[in-house]
Amino acid sequence: MGHHHVSSSAMFTNVLIVLLILTAVTVIASRIDFGPANMLIAMLIASVKASLVILFFMHMKWDTAINKIVFLSSFLFLSLLFIFTLADQATRRIDHPMHATKAKVSKEWAYPKPAMSEKH
């Protein structure tokens, strides 16, 4: 059956080694303060790792076009969810109490007394 693709063991092992190295890079990168770029860097490395898993471990590289479209379309719809959720958040009034902690919390910052119960 021509549609079967058997990958070599060496290829799988190489992918594993790269994934483990990238895990170490993730940890090291998180130790360095890049400011807001830390999130971007962490997600970028995770995306590269995810791509390696999808392309090679999950054989997507050799899969049919329809399977590629079906699976990758989930990321398209996911991006819609992210875009509208984060757009909503980004365009809210910034003086809304919900955003009270968006500024860096100062050392003197005191916790407002909870209105309800104080159990535990």
Binding site: M1, H3, H4, V6, S7, S9, F12, T13, V15, L16, L19, L20, T23, T26, V27, S30, M39, I41, A42, M43, A46, K49, A50, V53, I54, F56, F57, M58, D63, T64, I66, N67, V70, F71, S73, S74, F75, F77, L78, L81, F82, T85, L86, Q89, H99, T101, K102, K104, V105, K107, E108, W109, A110, Y111, P114, M116, S117, E118, K119, H120
Partner: protein, 253 residues
């Protein structure tokens, strides 16, 4: 296709230790059976991405609202245990890929061995996860034990307000000892995401055990390895989700 004279397609066994595979009667060819099942499974995996995607959206939303809470929350977790678990899952993804490869090449013993190693990886992962949960519960950082503390069935005060959604516990403090706003939120998200992920690990391990039963009977070989392939895809998805969970929860950027 006429019903009389229609015979199911049989894929012969490549050796005496294997059994032949009979293609399901509603498929004309083995290729059609293989591709139909694969398409259906990729579609299922797409829904899994969307399931976890909603949780990731919640994470990003609250992370942006309460960055301090998330930063301190992430520090309560042991990133070393998280890194070990990441490596365990990556290794088990490798053993699974090798298991599928062994099935594709009709290597019965190797398929069995790699599947067993993958299950071992799942067990190690869950044992580490168990001790992490145990430590966090003992420190009062989980909402589960206190979920119904504030709930009044008779409709009196605070009726219907579950502790999950309220701030009564002040579970975390910053460096000065001041409680952090919505300190429970990070752990509510942490436990929801990792518990649903953990459930997938357990289901995945169960599926691999079922595959091993089929391997023992000689059902999977170069001519037919579809179930091994699909369970492999499921296992890789579990790894895929964790690749994002690890930096977001243990190394909060």
């Amino acid at each position: 296709m006429s019903h009389d004279g229609h015979h199911s397609v049989v894929i012969p066994a490549p050796g005496p230790e294997f059994v032949p595979h009979t293609v399901a009667h509603h498929f004309d060819t083995p290729v059609q059976e293989f591709q139909s099942a694969k398409l259906g499974f990729w579609l299922f995996l797409a829904t899994e991405i969307l399931l976890f995607g909603g949780l990731f959206a919640a994470y990003f939303y609250y992370h942006d609202l309460y960055p301090e809470t998330f930063r301190v929350g992430g520090q309560q977790l042991d990133w070393k245990l998280g890194a070990v678990n990441t490596s365990v899952l990556l290794l088990s993804s490798w053993t699974m890929a090798m298991g599928v490869r062994s099935a594709q090449t009709s290597q019965k013993q190797k398929t069995m061995l790699f599947c067993a190693l993958t299950v071992l990886g799942a067990v190690i992962f869950m044992v580490i996860k168990f001790f992490e949960y145990k430590a966090k519960t003992e420190h009062g950082l989980f909402v589960f034990p206190h979920m119904f503390d504030n709930y009044q069935v008779d409709g009196s005060s605070n009726a219907g307000s579950l502790a999950w959604f309220t701030d009564v516990h002040n579970v975390m403090v910053d460096e000065t000892g001041a409680p952090l706003l919505h300190g429970h939120l990070f752990f509510a998200i942490y436990v929801t995401m990792t518990a649903i992920h953990g459930l997938h690990v357990i289901i995945g391990a169960g599926l691999i055990l079922w595959i091993m039963k089929g391997v023992a009977k000689g059902r999977f070989h170069a001519g037919y390895y579809l179930p091994v392939d699909l369970v492999g895809l499921y296992w890789h998805l579990v790894d895929l989700i964790w690749i994002f969970l690890f930096p977001l929860l243990y190394l909060v950027p």
